[in-house]
């Protein structure tokens, strides 16, 4: 049983770069961990800290207005690259619960859904507006699959129905797979 996903209202943090890959989200040198906790400190490490490990004041996550923001808005094709689930773990540990882009890479999207980080794919126009309005307060309604802008416009986004159901009710997908034990056994007998 995981925590059900309830409605989310938050200001945004904006990273306009396109093709933000998982090596940017969490560089490989932090992957020698054997737990899933504590990765938020390394989120976007190479953009966030200078060579001496000091926070770069101009990087958006280091600015005071980013504190408490739970929605990340990014340029096209967010999360491309490796299959490391450490990427959504790091974003969640930092406090993010949703990522908004016009395109989100397949493996990252799957990994996010399994951890309660909602991947929100929007059209170019919505994305352009969001990229141009950092800090905008948005409301994400997962049940309705809508993202509501401060202008009052509610944009629908696609979400895989099973993952949506699991997130809304705090059902874990492994529990569902385990409930199919007899079907799996029957399949194995045909091999």
């Amino acid at each position: 049983m995981t925590e059900p996903f309830t409605a989310l209202t938050s200001r945004t943090v904006v990273l306009p770069a396109t093709n933000i890959d998982t090596d940017q989200i969490i560089p490989a040198r932090f992957l020698t961990t054997t737990t899933r906790t504590g990765l938020g400190a390394h989120l976007f490490a190479d953009w966030r800290y200078d060579e001496a490990g000091r926070p770069r004041p101009d990087f958006v996550l280091n600015r005071p207005e980013s504190a408490g923001c739970r929605i990340l808005v990014a340029g096209r094709n967010f999360g491309c690259g490796s299959s490391r689930e450490h990427a959504p773990w790091a974003l969640l540990d930092q406090g993010f619960r949703a990522v908004v882009s016009t395109e989100i890479a397949d493996i990252f999207r799957n990994n996010s859904l399994k951890n309660g980080l909602v991947p929100v794919i929007v059209d170019e126009r919505t994305s352009d507006w969001l990229l141009a309005h950092p800090g905008a307060e948005l409301t994400l309604d997962l049940a309705a699959a809508t993202l509501t802008l401060p202008t009052g416009v509610a944009v629908r986004f696609p979400v895989e129905p099973f993952a949506q159901h699991c997130l809304l009710h705090g059902i874990d997908e492994l529990g569902y797979l385990l409930s199919l034990g007899r079907e799996i056994e029957a399949y194995e007998r045909t091999r």
Partner: protein
């Protein structure tokens, strides 16, 4: 009822549906081979322990260690401690997890150890028609034999350990049709870089690619693996090549391939796998291989690629390009040729098989790398290492001034002690040129083993055809 013409992908997918997808639920897909490694499995084993679950099919699971393992002989075989303490812990944890779960582990000192995507085919475990997953995006490599193979996250690693199944929505299909003969000095790596240049880094998102056409049929297995390996760099989780006589000749006699009557039965099944005439793909891309030149990336994703004879593209005013240029320290319009190089890396699941090492050695034989260049040659597996040494390739590399290491992911992702220093330029035969991929601030140019070796000799980006 007339049989519907199906693609290779559809045949493998349908054969593995424990339950087909519905509007409300994804398909339940059975997994024939689950490969695990030290970096993306520990949290999955923890999940199983927390839930009191056993590994359902240890016999369909194989573990090895490659990502965080050192490549220096003393650290691998004792004599010196592993420099990165957290990596050493991760390695020990995999050993414990496998021992407890009864999963076979090709451990640090095993003769069969290597990069997970190199050893699967090498052992003959990677077979046509199988579903293969691993917590690593380059699992697409195994599609070269006609398997459906893709990378998964750690939660899904847990799902497969516990149930041998995955919940999946059916992807779309993309045919990449390649015609024309590859020119001298142009390799499979150049071909896939050219394909990614055409598709873009998100062009394959949501799709499984089938590489087809006479050029693909003419590739040997190592080359097909190089092509399928980088499918994910175009956003596609899986790439496949239909099995044929090249595939069967490669697999015959491998330690874990079927034998005797089982081999004959397997062959009958495998021969039915190729895409039926008239089967439809959701999308198609055509490419003329005879026009492909040696390719090299200039930017910070694998789609930012030009012929080695070309110039860095000029897209003034585009913020994405400006950012990549600034990271790489390049200027728009500059020729890529003759740019200075600091490091050359021959290795990774993309290009560390025996034929890749032969190709690099062909260029280095009787030559020396340029002054000031660091060159690492890292075989993809311990077996590749032994084979290369039996042919004397290690001598060629050492005499040329390169380092010869134990197998592993090494410098491809800089988490095992092998890194490129900040600001330095590395020509790498690996698969990702993302910012910081090979080390914080490192600048990566992806190329073939031939181009990498030629650039090591000259100390500058070099068209390998000048040295052949």
């Amino acid at each position: 009822m007339a049989l519907l013409a199906r693609t290779l992908f559809e045949k493998v997918w349908q054969r593995h549906e424990v339950a087909a997808e519905t509007a409300a639920t994804p398909a339940v897909l059975y997994i024939d081979l689950h490969l695990i490694h030290e970096v993306t499995s520990p949290q999955a084993f923890t999940l199983l322990r927390e839930r009191g679950l056993a590994v359902r099919r240890p016999d369909l699971t194989l573990a090895t260690m490659d990502h965080s393992t050192p490549t220096r002989t003393a650290q691998v075989f004792g004599g010196a401690p592993i420099t990165i303490e957290s990596a050493a812990r991760q390695i020990r944890e995999l050993e414990q997890n496998c021992a407890q779960a009864g999963v076979e582990l090709l451990g640090l000192e095993s003769e069969q150890r290597g990069i997970v995507h190199i050893i699967g085919p090498e052992l003959g475990l990677t077979q046509p028609g199988k579903t293969i997953v691993c917590g690593d995006s380059h699992t697409s490599t195994h599609g070269a034999v006609g398997a459906l193979a893709f990378g998964i996250g750690t939660t899904e690693v847990g799902h497969v350990l516990a149930t041998q199944c995955l919940l999946q929505r059916k992807p779309r299909t993309l045919a990449v049709e390649v015609e024309g003969k590859l020119r001298e000095g142009v390799s499979a790596k150049d071909l896939i870089l050219a394909i990614i240049g055409r598709l873009g880094v998100a062009g394959g998102t949501g799709h499984v690619i089938e590489y087809r056409g006479p050029t693909v049929r003419a590739l040997d297995m190592d080359e097909r693996m190089t092509v399928c390996n980088m499918s994910i760099e175009a956003g596609a989780r899986a790439g496949m090549v239909a099995p044929d006589d090249t595939t069967y000749a490669y697999l015959a006699g491998r330690p874990r391939a079927p034998r005797g009557a089982a081999w004959e039965r397997a062959l009958d099944e495998w021969r039915a796998l190729p895409t039926d005439p008239g089967a439809r793909f959701d999308r198609e891309l055509r490419l003329d291989a005879s026009q492909v030149e040696p390719m090299i990336t200039w930017g910070t994703n694998p789609g930012m690629v030009v012929p080695v004879t070309g110039a860095i593209p000029d897209h003034r005013g585009d913020a994405v390009y400006a950012r990549a240029l600034s990271y790489m320290g390049f200027e728009a319009g500059q020729p890529i040729r003759d740019r200075p190089v600091n490091v050359v890396f021959i290795g990774s699941c993309t290009n560390a098989r025996l034929s890749d090492l032969r190709s690099a050695a062909r260029l280095l034989r009787g030559r020396h790398i340029a002054r000031g260049i660091t060159m690492l040659v890292v075989p993809g597996s311990q077996q590749v290492k032994r084979q290369a040494e039996a042919e004397g390739l290690d001598r060629v590399f050492l005499e040329a001034g390169a380092e010869w290491r134990e197998s592993g992911c090494s410098m491809c992702l800089g988490m095992n002690g092998d890194t490129v220093a900040r600001g330095e330029y590395a020509v790498s035969t690996s698969n990702r040129n993302f910012e910081g991929r090979q080390g914080a601030g490192a600048r990566t140019l992806l190329a073939s083993p031939l181009t990498a070796a030629a650039s090591a000799v000259r100390g500058r980006i070099t068209d390998p055809r000048e040295l052949l």
